[in-house]
């Protein structure tokens, strides 16, 4: 669907965030970008979104796949909701920017919120929602226009373990239902192994792609977290991550 070739990005202070990134994302994949803090994962995500431009190399979308505004969804580390708007109004935002009306969008918004376990909270302002609920609203906002590409930047990092597991399960289920392509930045091996169909392991600064590991967990597995293939994947990814970390 899109590819980065030889992409590099450095900042004004001389820090090299990314060097020589070759990455191809296929339609329908769930790709996890995994690496230690400061390895340029978030920068890479911004390059994919077109929010930032590589200094060297290039980002190319396949013909017919190039996104128009609203076809890329983005979920940030914080929910970053509009504090003055209700959950439903927050989810409505991308539609509003595309010129849709609130009343006609409401059934769609409510059903997505409901699907994400927020039925009954459509009218609640963010101040009355828990951290996990806010993140659910942020995910709904990113998915309401059924984006071709959904980019997620450590969205669950600030949540407690229980909430995180629930959200991971819901996100995966939603991806399987709706299709679409997800690129998910995380520094958690377990999160990457549970969610992704392919794991891209990155090195510490400057960020390079160390290796890519394709998940062998059956998509039909009853509970991915206790599937033998999950444990094998976790240990393979752990080895790969240890190999790139300085001793």
């Amino acid at each position: 669907m899109l590819r980065l070739t030889g992409a590099g990005r450095h900042f004004d202070n001389g820090t090299i965030a990314l060097a020589d990134i070759d990455l191809r994302i296929e339609a329908g994949e769930f790709v996890a970008l995994l690496g230690p803090s400061g390895c340029g994962k978030s920068t890479l995500l911004r390059l994919l979104a077109g929010l930032d431009i590589p200094d060297s190399g290039a980002l190319a979308w396949d013909a017919r796949a190039a996104p128009s505004p609203g076809e890329i969804g983005f979920v940030f580390q914080d929910a970053t909701l509009l504090p003055w708007a209700s959950a439903a109004r927050n989810v409505f935002l991308p539609l509003r920017l595309a010129g849709h009306g609130f009343a006609s969008s409401l059934p769609e918004i409510n059903s997505l919120l409901d699907r994400l376990g927020l039925g009954g909270f459509e009218g609640a302002k963010p101040a009355f929602l828990s951290g996990g609920m806010k993140m659910r609203v942020a995910i709904a906002r990113a998915m309401i226009r059924r984006p071709r590409l959904l980019l997620m930047d450590e969205p669950f990092a600030a949540l407690d373990e229980f909430t995180r597991h629930r959200l991971q399960a819901d996100l995966r289920a939603l991806w399987r239902e709706q299709g679409g392509t997800v690129v998910f930045v995380t520094h958690s091996i377990y999160e990457a192994a549970y969610l992704a169909s392919r794991i891209v392991v990155m090195t510490p600064r400057p960020g390079r792609i160390a290796t890519e590991i394709t998940s062998t967990i059956s998509s039909e597995a009853d509970d991915r977290r206790i599937d033998p293939a999950y444990f094998a994947l976790v240990s393979e990814v752990t080895d790969a991550l240890h190999a790139v970390m300085p001793a």
């Binding site: 979104a49 505004p69 970053t80 509009l82 935002l93 991308p94 302002k125 101040a127 906002r141």
Partner: protein, 254 residues
């Protein structure tokens, strides 16, 4: 804040007033040096009509200046937020106006602006507009970058970003600026009145204070001061309540 803390300022005020009145009575301090609170209340009541008319004059200048300051501060902040060039051009001059004492500018303005009310409002506006400008500019600049990215990803126009994101994000900053500007407008109005009074205009509370000073009517002077202090507190409180109501309505908090 528990009940004791809530009533502490009132209790402290009452004790201070009692001590004041007691000291003045026991030591027989003459009222033309320091009147007691009771004497001041008498003077306030005896002269209520002229003092209230003066208060109304001062408050009308304050209110007009506050409105002008809010409009001016908002327009300048929007101009500064919309272009870096405008920001670079406006910012130093706003600071110049802010750091120049209004007492020093007031005589010029009173000469230039021929109409007394307008001249006084202009002086008070100069004092009051800066917090609106700086707060609103800070609020417009403090829009969360992630939300700006989100708007851009969804193809939002500059106009949509301003209307749906930057202005509402700046609102709490703006309201805090307005609250400060309210009390500054009163200060500016009184300072300008003092300058104008020396030139013969004397409709506001500053005029009553000067006049009482000339006549050694010190209780009346204190009475005018009391009205000013109450007016200042009332302005601050009313604007604070408006701020809280607006924010609660919008965000459902605080």
């Amino acid at each position: 804040m528990n009940a004791a803390e809530r009533f502490a300022p009132i209790a402290f005020g009452i004790i201070a007033l009692l001590l004041w009145q007691g000291a003045v009575s026991v030591l027989h301090v003459p009222p033309y040096i320091l009147p007691g609170p009771i004497g001041i209340m008498h003077a306030l009541w005896a002269d209520r009509l002229s003092l209230l008319v003066a208060l109304a004059a001062t408050l009308s200048i304050t209110l007009a200046a506050l409105i002008a300051a809010v409009l001016l501060g908002m327009i300048l902040a929007l101009a500064m937020a919309s272009s870096r060039l405008a920001r670079a051009a406006i910012q130093p001059w706003a600071v110049v106006l802010q750091v120049t004492p209004v007492v020093a500018i007031a005589p010029l303005i009173i000469i230039w602006v021929n109409q007394e009310f307008a001249a006084l409002v202009a002086c008070a506006t100069i004092v009051a507009f800066f917090p609106v400008l700086s707060n609103t500019a800070a609020g417009l600049a403090a829009t969360p970058p992630a939300l700006l990215d989100l708007f851009r990803l969804n193809g939002a126009s500059r106009w949509q970003i301003l209307l749906l994101l930057r202005l509402p994000s700046a609102l709490p900053f703006f309201l805090a600026g307005v609250r400060v500007a309210g009390t500054l407008a009163l200060v500016g109005a009184v300072v300008a009145e003092f300058v104008a009074s020396s030139g013969g205009f004397a409709s506001g509370l500053a005029g009553r204070i000067l006049e009482s000073g000339y006549r050694l009517e010190i209780p009346r002077m204190f009475a005018a001061l009391t009205l000013l202090a109450v007016a200042g507190i009332a302005i601050y409180a009313v604007l604070g309540v408006c701020e809280r109501l607006i924010l609660r309505r919008l965000e459902g908090t605080s």
